[in-house]
């Protein structure tokens, strides 16, 4: 085992990058603004203190994490290997008794530490604001949020480092990383739905089978997997998991939502009139639980699968590469 030595070196080295510090500060500032605002404007004075923190995390923080944390992770990891390859310091590193696998693992862990330290700082400062505010601070839930965010960061760093090891230079790495980021952030649902439509139009796969496929594809997106796990954790009661999955289909119409709830998530669709005359479908609890492959555990597994995928990419590219 020698990846820990590489990880320590990486941590020491990357910690001195000024750019990374600036980015971490910007991220921390972004991160703290909502909680600071909640304190400043005395949010919760008219009630709602009890669910205020959950609401704040769900509506604002999950978006901050999925939008900005990947950018920090990319910045911390995109040059991890490509820069050493271009400069030649990789020759010094691989002259030492480290296998290429050790190098990849050490780089991921080290760079993850570099992201994790400011992230932990942001979470702590943020917690202080929340505690000071009128909203009820729930330590268990907050720590859960922090830990899953760290897992998400780890996945993103692993992907960034493996892309860095797979390509010729840092320019290609940043292009690859940004393509990945834009894909999971803005285009994934479009693709998932298009595949669903394609199955419907060309293969005649309709109804539950079709929606099952689409949900599965959606969950494969690391960003959405993280979000839906968190939504489930933030919700109360036994139906939180189902509600979290169900809310991934907010764009579907009433009858589609009923199919998704009843036949895909083993729930019971309940359609009600809204005060504006439209209808709203919610997915209620049943005796059955959500299918295993759509559970929180499965979503976490899909999220972690990206680390495996990153490792496989590294193995077939960086490991085979002639220096």
């Amino acid at each position: 085992m020698s990846w820990d030595v590489v990880a320590r070196k990486e941590f020491r080295d990357a910690l001195r990058s000024k750019g990374l510090w600036v980015l971490s500060l910007v991220f921390t500032a972004f991160f703290v603004i909502p909680a600071a605002a909640a304190l400043w404007f005395d949010v919760g004075i008219r009630g709602g203190q009890d669910v205020g923190m959950q609401l704040l995390i769900r509506v604002i923080y999950l978006n901050i994490v999925t939008l900005f944390l990947p950018l920090v992770a990319i910045f911390a990891g995109y040059a991890a290997i490509s820069k050493e390859r271009t400069s030649g310091s990789l020759k010094l590193l691989l002259s030492l008794p480290h296998s290429r696998k050790d190098v990849i693992i050490g780089k991921v862990v080290g760079r993850c530490g570099v992201v994790g330290v400011p992230l932990a700082g942001a979470f702590i400062v943020n917690a202080l604001f929340l505690i000071a505010s009128r909203l009820t601070f729930k330590p268990g839930l907050y720590v859960t949020f922090a830990l899953f965010s760290l897992v998400f960061a780890l996945v993103m760093v692993a992907v960034a480092v493996s892309i860095s090891g797979a390509v010729e230079n840092s320019l290609y790495s940043i292009i690859g990383n940004m393509t990945f980021f834009v894909s999971i952030t803005f285009f994934w649902n479009l693709w998932a739905n298009s595949i669903g439509d394609g199955l419907w139009d060309y293969l005649g796969i309709t109804g539950a089978a079709n929606w099952t496929t689409v949900l599965f594809l959606k969950l494969l997106n690391p960003s959405q997997a993280y979000k839906t796990i968190m939504n489930s954790m933030l919700g109360d009661g036994g139906n939180a998991e189902r509600s979290a999955r169900f809310s991934m289909f907010s764009g579907a119409n009433g009858s589609e939502q009923a199919t998704i709830c009843n036949d895909v998530l083993a729930g019971e669709a309940n359609t009600t009139q809204t005060i504006f005359g439209g209808t709203q479908t919610s997915c209620l609890e049943t005796a059955q639980s959500v299918p295993l492959y759509f559970s929180d555990g499965a979503a976490l597994f899909y999220l972690l699968l990206w680390i495996g995928l990153a490792a496989a990419v590294s193995y077939y590219t960086f490991n085979q590469y002639d220096l």
Partner: protein, 318 residues
């Protein structure tokens, strides 16, 4: 057991063949000079030893381990000064050494090693990004020495060093060898190899064209010294007098200029012979064989430099 064993190692980079079947053995405890012009395949060979590149064909073993299967075991016992490296800009010299010490599980005082390669305490605390090429080379040499490795692989170790640095490098190579380490180092400069090596391998165009002891190599070098003498009048008597000097292998006359091929130590004898035969030396110039000429001499076994000189003088006549 041999420290390094290459058998039929071939390396193809796309269309380009960098190595075409190199067989090479370095015995334990020797200092082996790996000589060749730039681009001959020296670095590729070294990269194969360290598993930086994977041979297309053939097998390579270092310290008894296969380079592909047990590379880590090799690198645990090997100190490397690679070619075309870069140091970590943001880490200090000392931190570089600490990283190597941790990596190799060694117990050494970084200050001691830095002192040995001529870097002082102040340098050690500076970030390596601000080092000159020579300082970086010294630092990486110190890194190679961590943990008393059984094998030192040094790729063009003197590049970037001033004459003092090059001398220090040779001293360290000798010291390490006396300690019991095998040293394998590459160079494109004959002089560097001559002074320290037990044995020399010469590579050209991806093929090992000769492997020889340093004495034999020096002999080959001497044979090829070319002496150009301008005399007032190059009479037949002068030419035959020169030809009669023991050790002269060829004389070419071109107007009043004589091109004499001889061993290095009889230059004075040649000049004396010319004077005695009634010629007056107006000017003379010696031409040490270049590495390329040495290679040429080795490649086809004939005395290439001499025939090249003959060609030159023939052209001069025309």
């Amino acid at each position: 057991m041999a420290a390094i064993e290459l058998e039929g190692v071939r390396k193809q980079f796309g269309e380009v063949t960098a190595l075409e079947g190199v067989d090479l053995t370095v015995e334990e405890g020797e200092i082996y000079g790996f000589l060749g012009p730039n681009g001959a395949g020296k670095s590729t060979t070294i990269n194969v030893l360290l598993d930086f590149v994977r041979p297309t064909d053939g097998t390579a073993r270092v310290l008894g381990h296969d380079v592909r299967e047990e590379s880590k075991a090799i690198r645990e016992r090997t100190g490397v000064l690679p070619e075309g490296y870069d140091v970590y800009d943001r880490l200090t010299g000392r931190e570089h050494l600490e990283f190597v010490i941790d990596s190799k599980d060694a117990y050494v005082d970084p200050a001691e090693l830095l002192d040995r390669v001529g870097l002082d305490q102040e340098d050690a605390e500076r970030k390596a990004g601000g080092y000159s090429k020579g300082m970086a080379q010294r630092l990486v040499l110190a890194m190679a020495l961590v943990g008393e490795p059984d094998l030192l692989i040094l790729d063009e170790p003197s590049s970037g060093l001033d004459p003092n640095g090059a001398r220090m490098m040779r001293e360290i190579v000798r010291e390490e060898n006396e300690r019991g380490a095998t040293v394998f180092f590459s160079s494109h400069i004959l002089g560097q190899v001559e002074s320290v090596c037990d044995r020399v391998g010469i590579i050209q165009d991806g093929t090992l064209i000769a492997e020889d002891s340093i004495e034999n190599l020096q002999e080959a070098t001497d044979v090829e010294t070319t002496l150009t003498v301008v005399v007032d009048e190059a009479t037949d008597a002068v030419v035959s007098a020169v030809r009669d000097v023991a050790g002269v292998t060829g004389v070419d006359r071109s107007a009043d200029e004589l091109t004499v091929t001889c061993s290095d130590d009889i230059k004075m004898a040649v000049l004396n012979a010319i004077e005695e035969a009634g010629g007056e030396v107006e000017d003379f110039d010696t031409h040490e064989p270049s590495l390329e000429e040495l290679f040429a001499a080795y490649t086809d076994g004939t005395d290439q430099p001499q025939s090249r000189a003959a060609t030159a003088s023939a052209e001069g006549d025309a």
